[in-house]
Assembly symmetry: C3
Homo-oligomer: 147 residues x 3
Amino acid sequence: MTVTDASPAVSAAELYFQIQQFYAHQMQLLDDGRAEDWALTFTEDGVFAANAHPEPAAGRAVISAAARKATDEYAANGVQRRHWLGMVSVEQRGEDEVFARCYALVIETPRGGQAALRVSTRCDDRLVRQDGRWLVKHRQVTRDDLS
Amino acid sequence: MTVTDASPAVSAAELYFQIQQFYAHQMQLLDDGRAEDWALTFTEDGVFAANAHPEPAAGRAVISAAARKATDEYAANGVQRRHWLGMVSVEQRGEDEVFARCYALVIETPRGGQAALRVSTRCDDRLVRQDGRWLVKHRQVTRDDLS
Amino acid sequence: MTVTDASPAVSAAELYFQIQQFYAHQMQLLDDGRAEDWALTFTEDGVFAANAHPEPAAGRAVISAAARKATDEYAANGVQRRHWLGMVSVEQRGEDEVFARCYALVIETPRGGQAALRVSTRCDDRLVRQDGRWLVKHRQVTRDDLS
């Protein structure tokens, strides 16, 4: 599918649907502890930057290792994380690139304990389509408490 | 409408829209205390299973009675519930069947009191289309604190 | 684009997409402190009514001034607000008018502090399309704790 082949009205809704599905799938992978599969939702040279981290994680290998470490710590502590993305806006920047902005919440529930809102953030993503799949080229997460 | 009649790109977005609208409507019915109408969003032989319950509720009559009981208790206590579904992923399993996975939060607000996050869950739904309407054939709710 | 020109299946998904994007954009404006730009998402004679306020705010000028006042107070206190809308249902009422109902949460994070759920609400909107842009003609916000 090329977006320019479709009527503008249809393609905007279709693109929005694709990005929403991408986010749902991506967050389910992370929250299921599949750190390596989650890292594959970034481009090979993808960047994960956050105002909570001194340096951006650059490249799938680094992103994967960081996610694995965090995932194992949560599992060891018996805490289920849930990443909620919402208020997603999508701007097309080319046939295979979009800029997406959304809000993200992290909800944590300890086994046998009370679910709690951990952090509120804003997420700015540059997404690119490679071989028909959307991937994160650059993600900037801004925690509200640190901004 | 049959999904196979439309182009694949359009039908995926359309299907996603239909499921999102179904969930919005279904949760509004429950949170408005319309337990019997909510039960009608399940098939006649629909099943509601949850890791918080010892046995699944099977069939509309059972689902309706359980929802009525819970609804009346919340109303008697002056508590407004809100079920939030998000991070919805939809997989088509046939022309009239989809598997949908989402996260679900329950937010509770006592009259004159403070809104609070009560539980965080994952919801796995088998949805079927009957007479043009989507219905829940089987729902599995997994509370994060009990999993 | 006129909705009636498109097939019903396509137009419903497209309309839903447009409303979702409108809400994402509208809430980002408010949470970014752009009170005047946010007020422009209401019609010139738009009304913002809330069960938390003794009188509705009627007209863009009044809505803008009220939003500016609140925005400045939050900024002075170093608090980042995030308005989350979800469970959106959309009913078309005419070619250029829809009734939308959704849930809305306000999440607040003080600088250096803990994110918290402030209020849970229901939002009933009458939206109209003017010059191709959706605008709020009438909004009714019902706080769960006051209802």
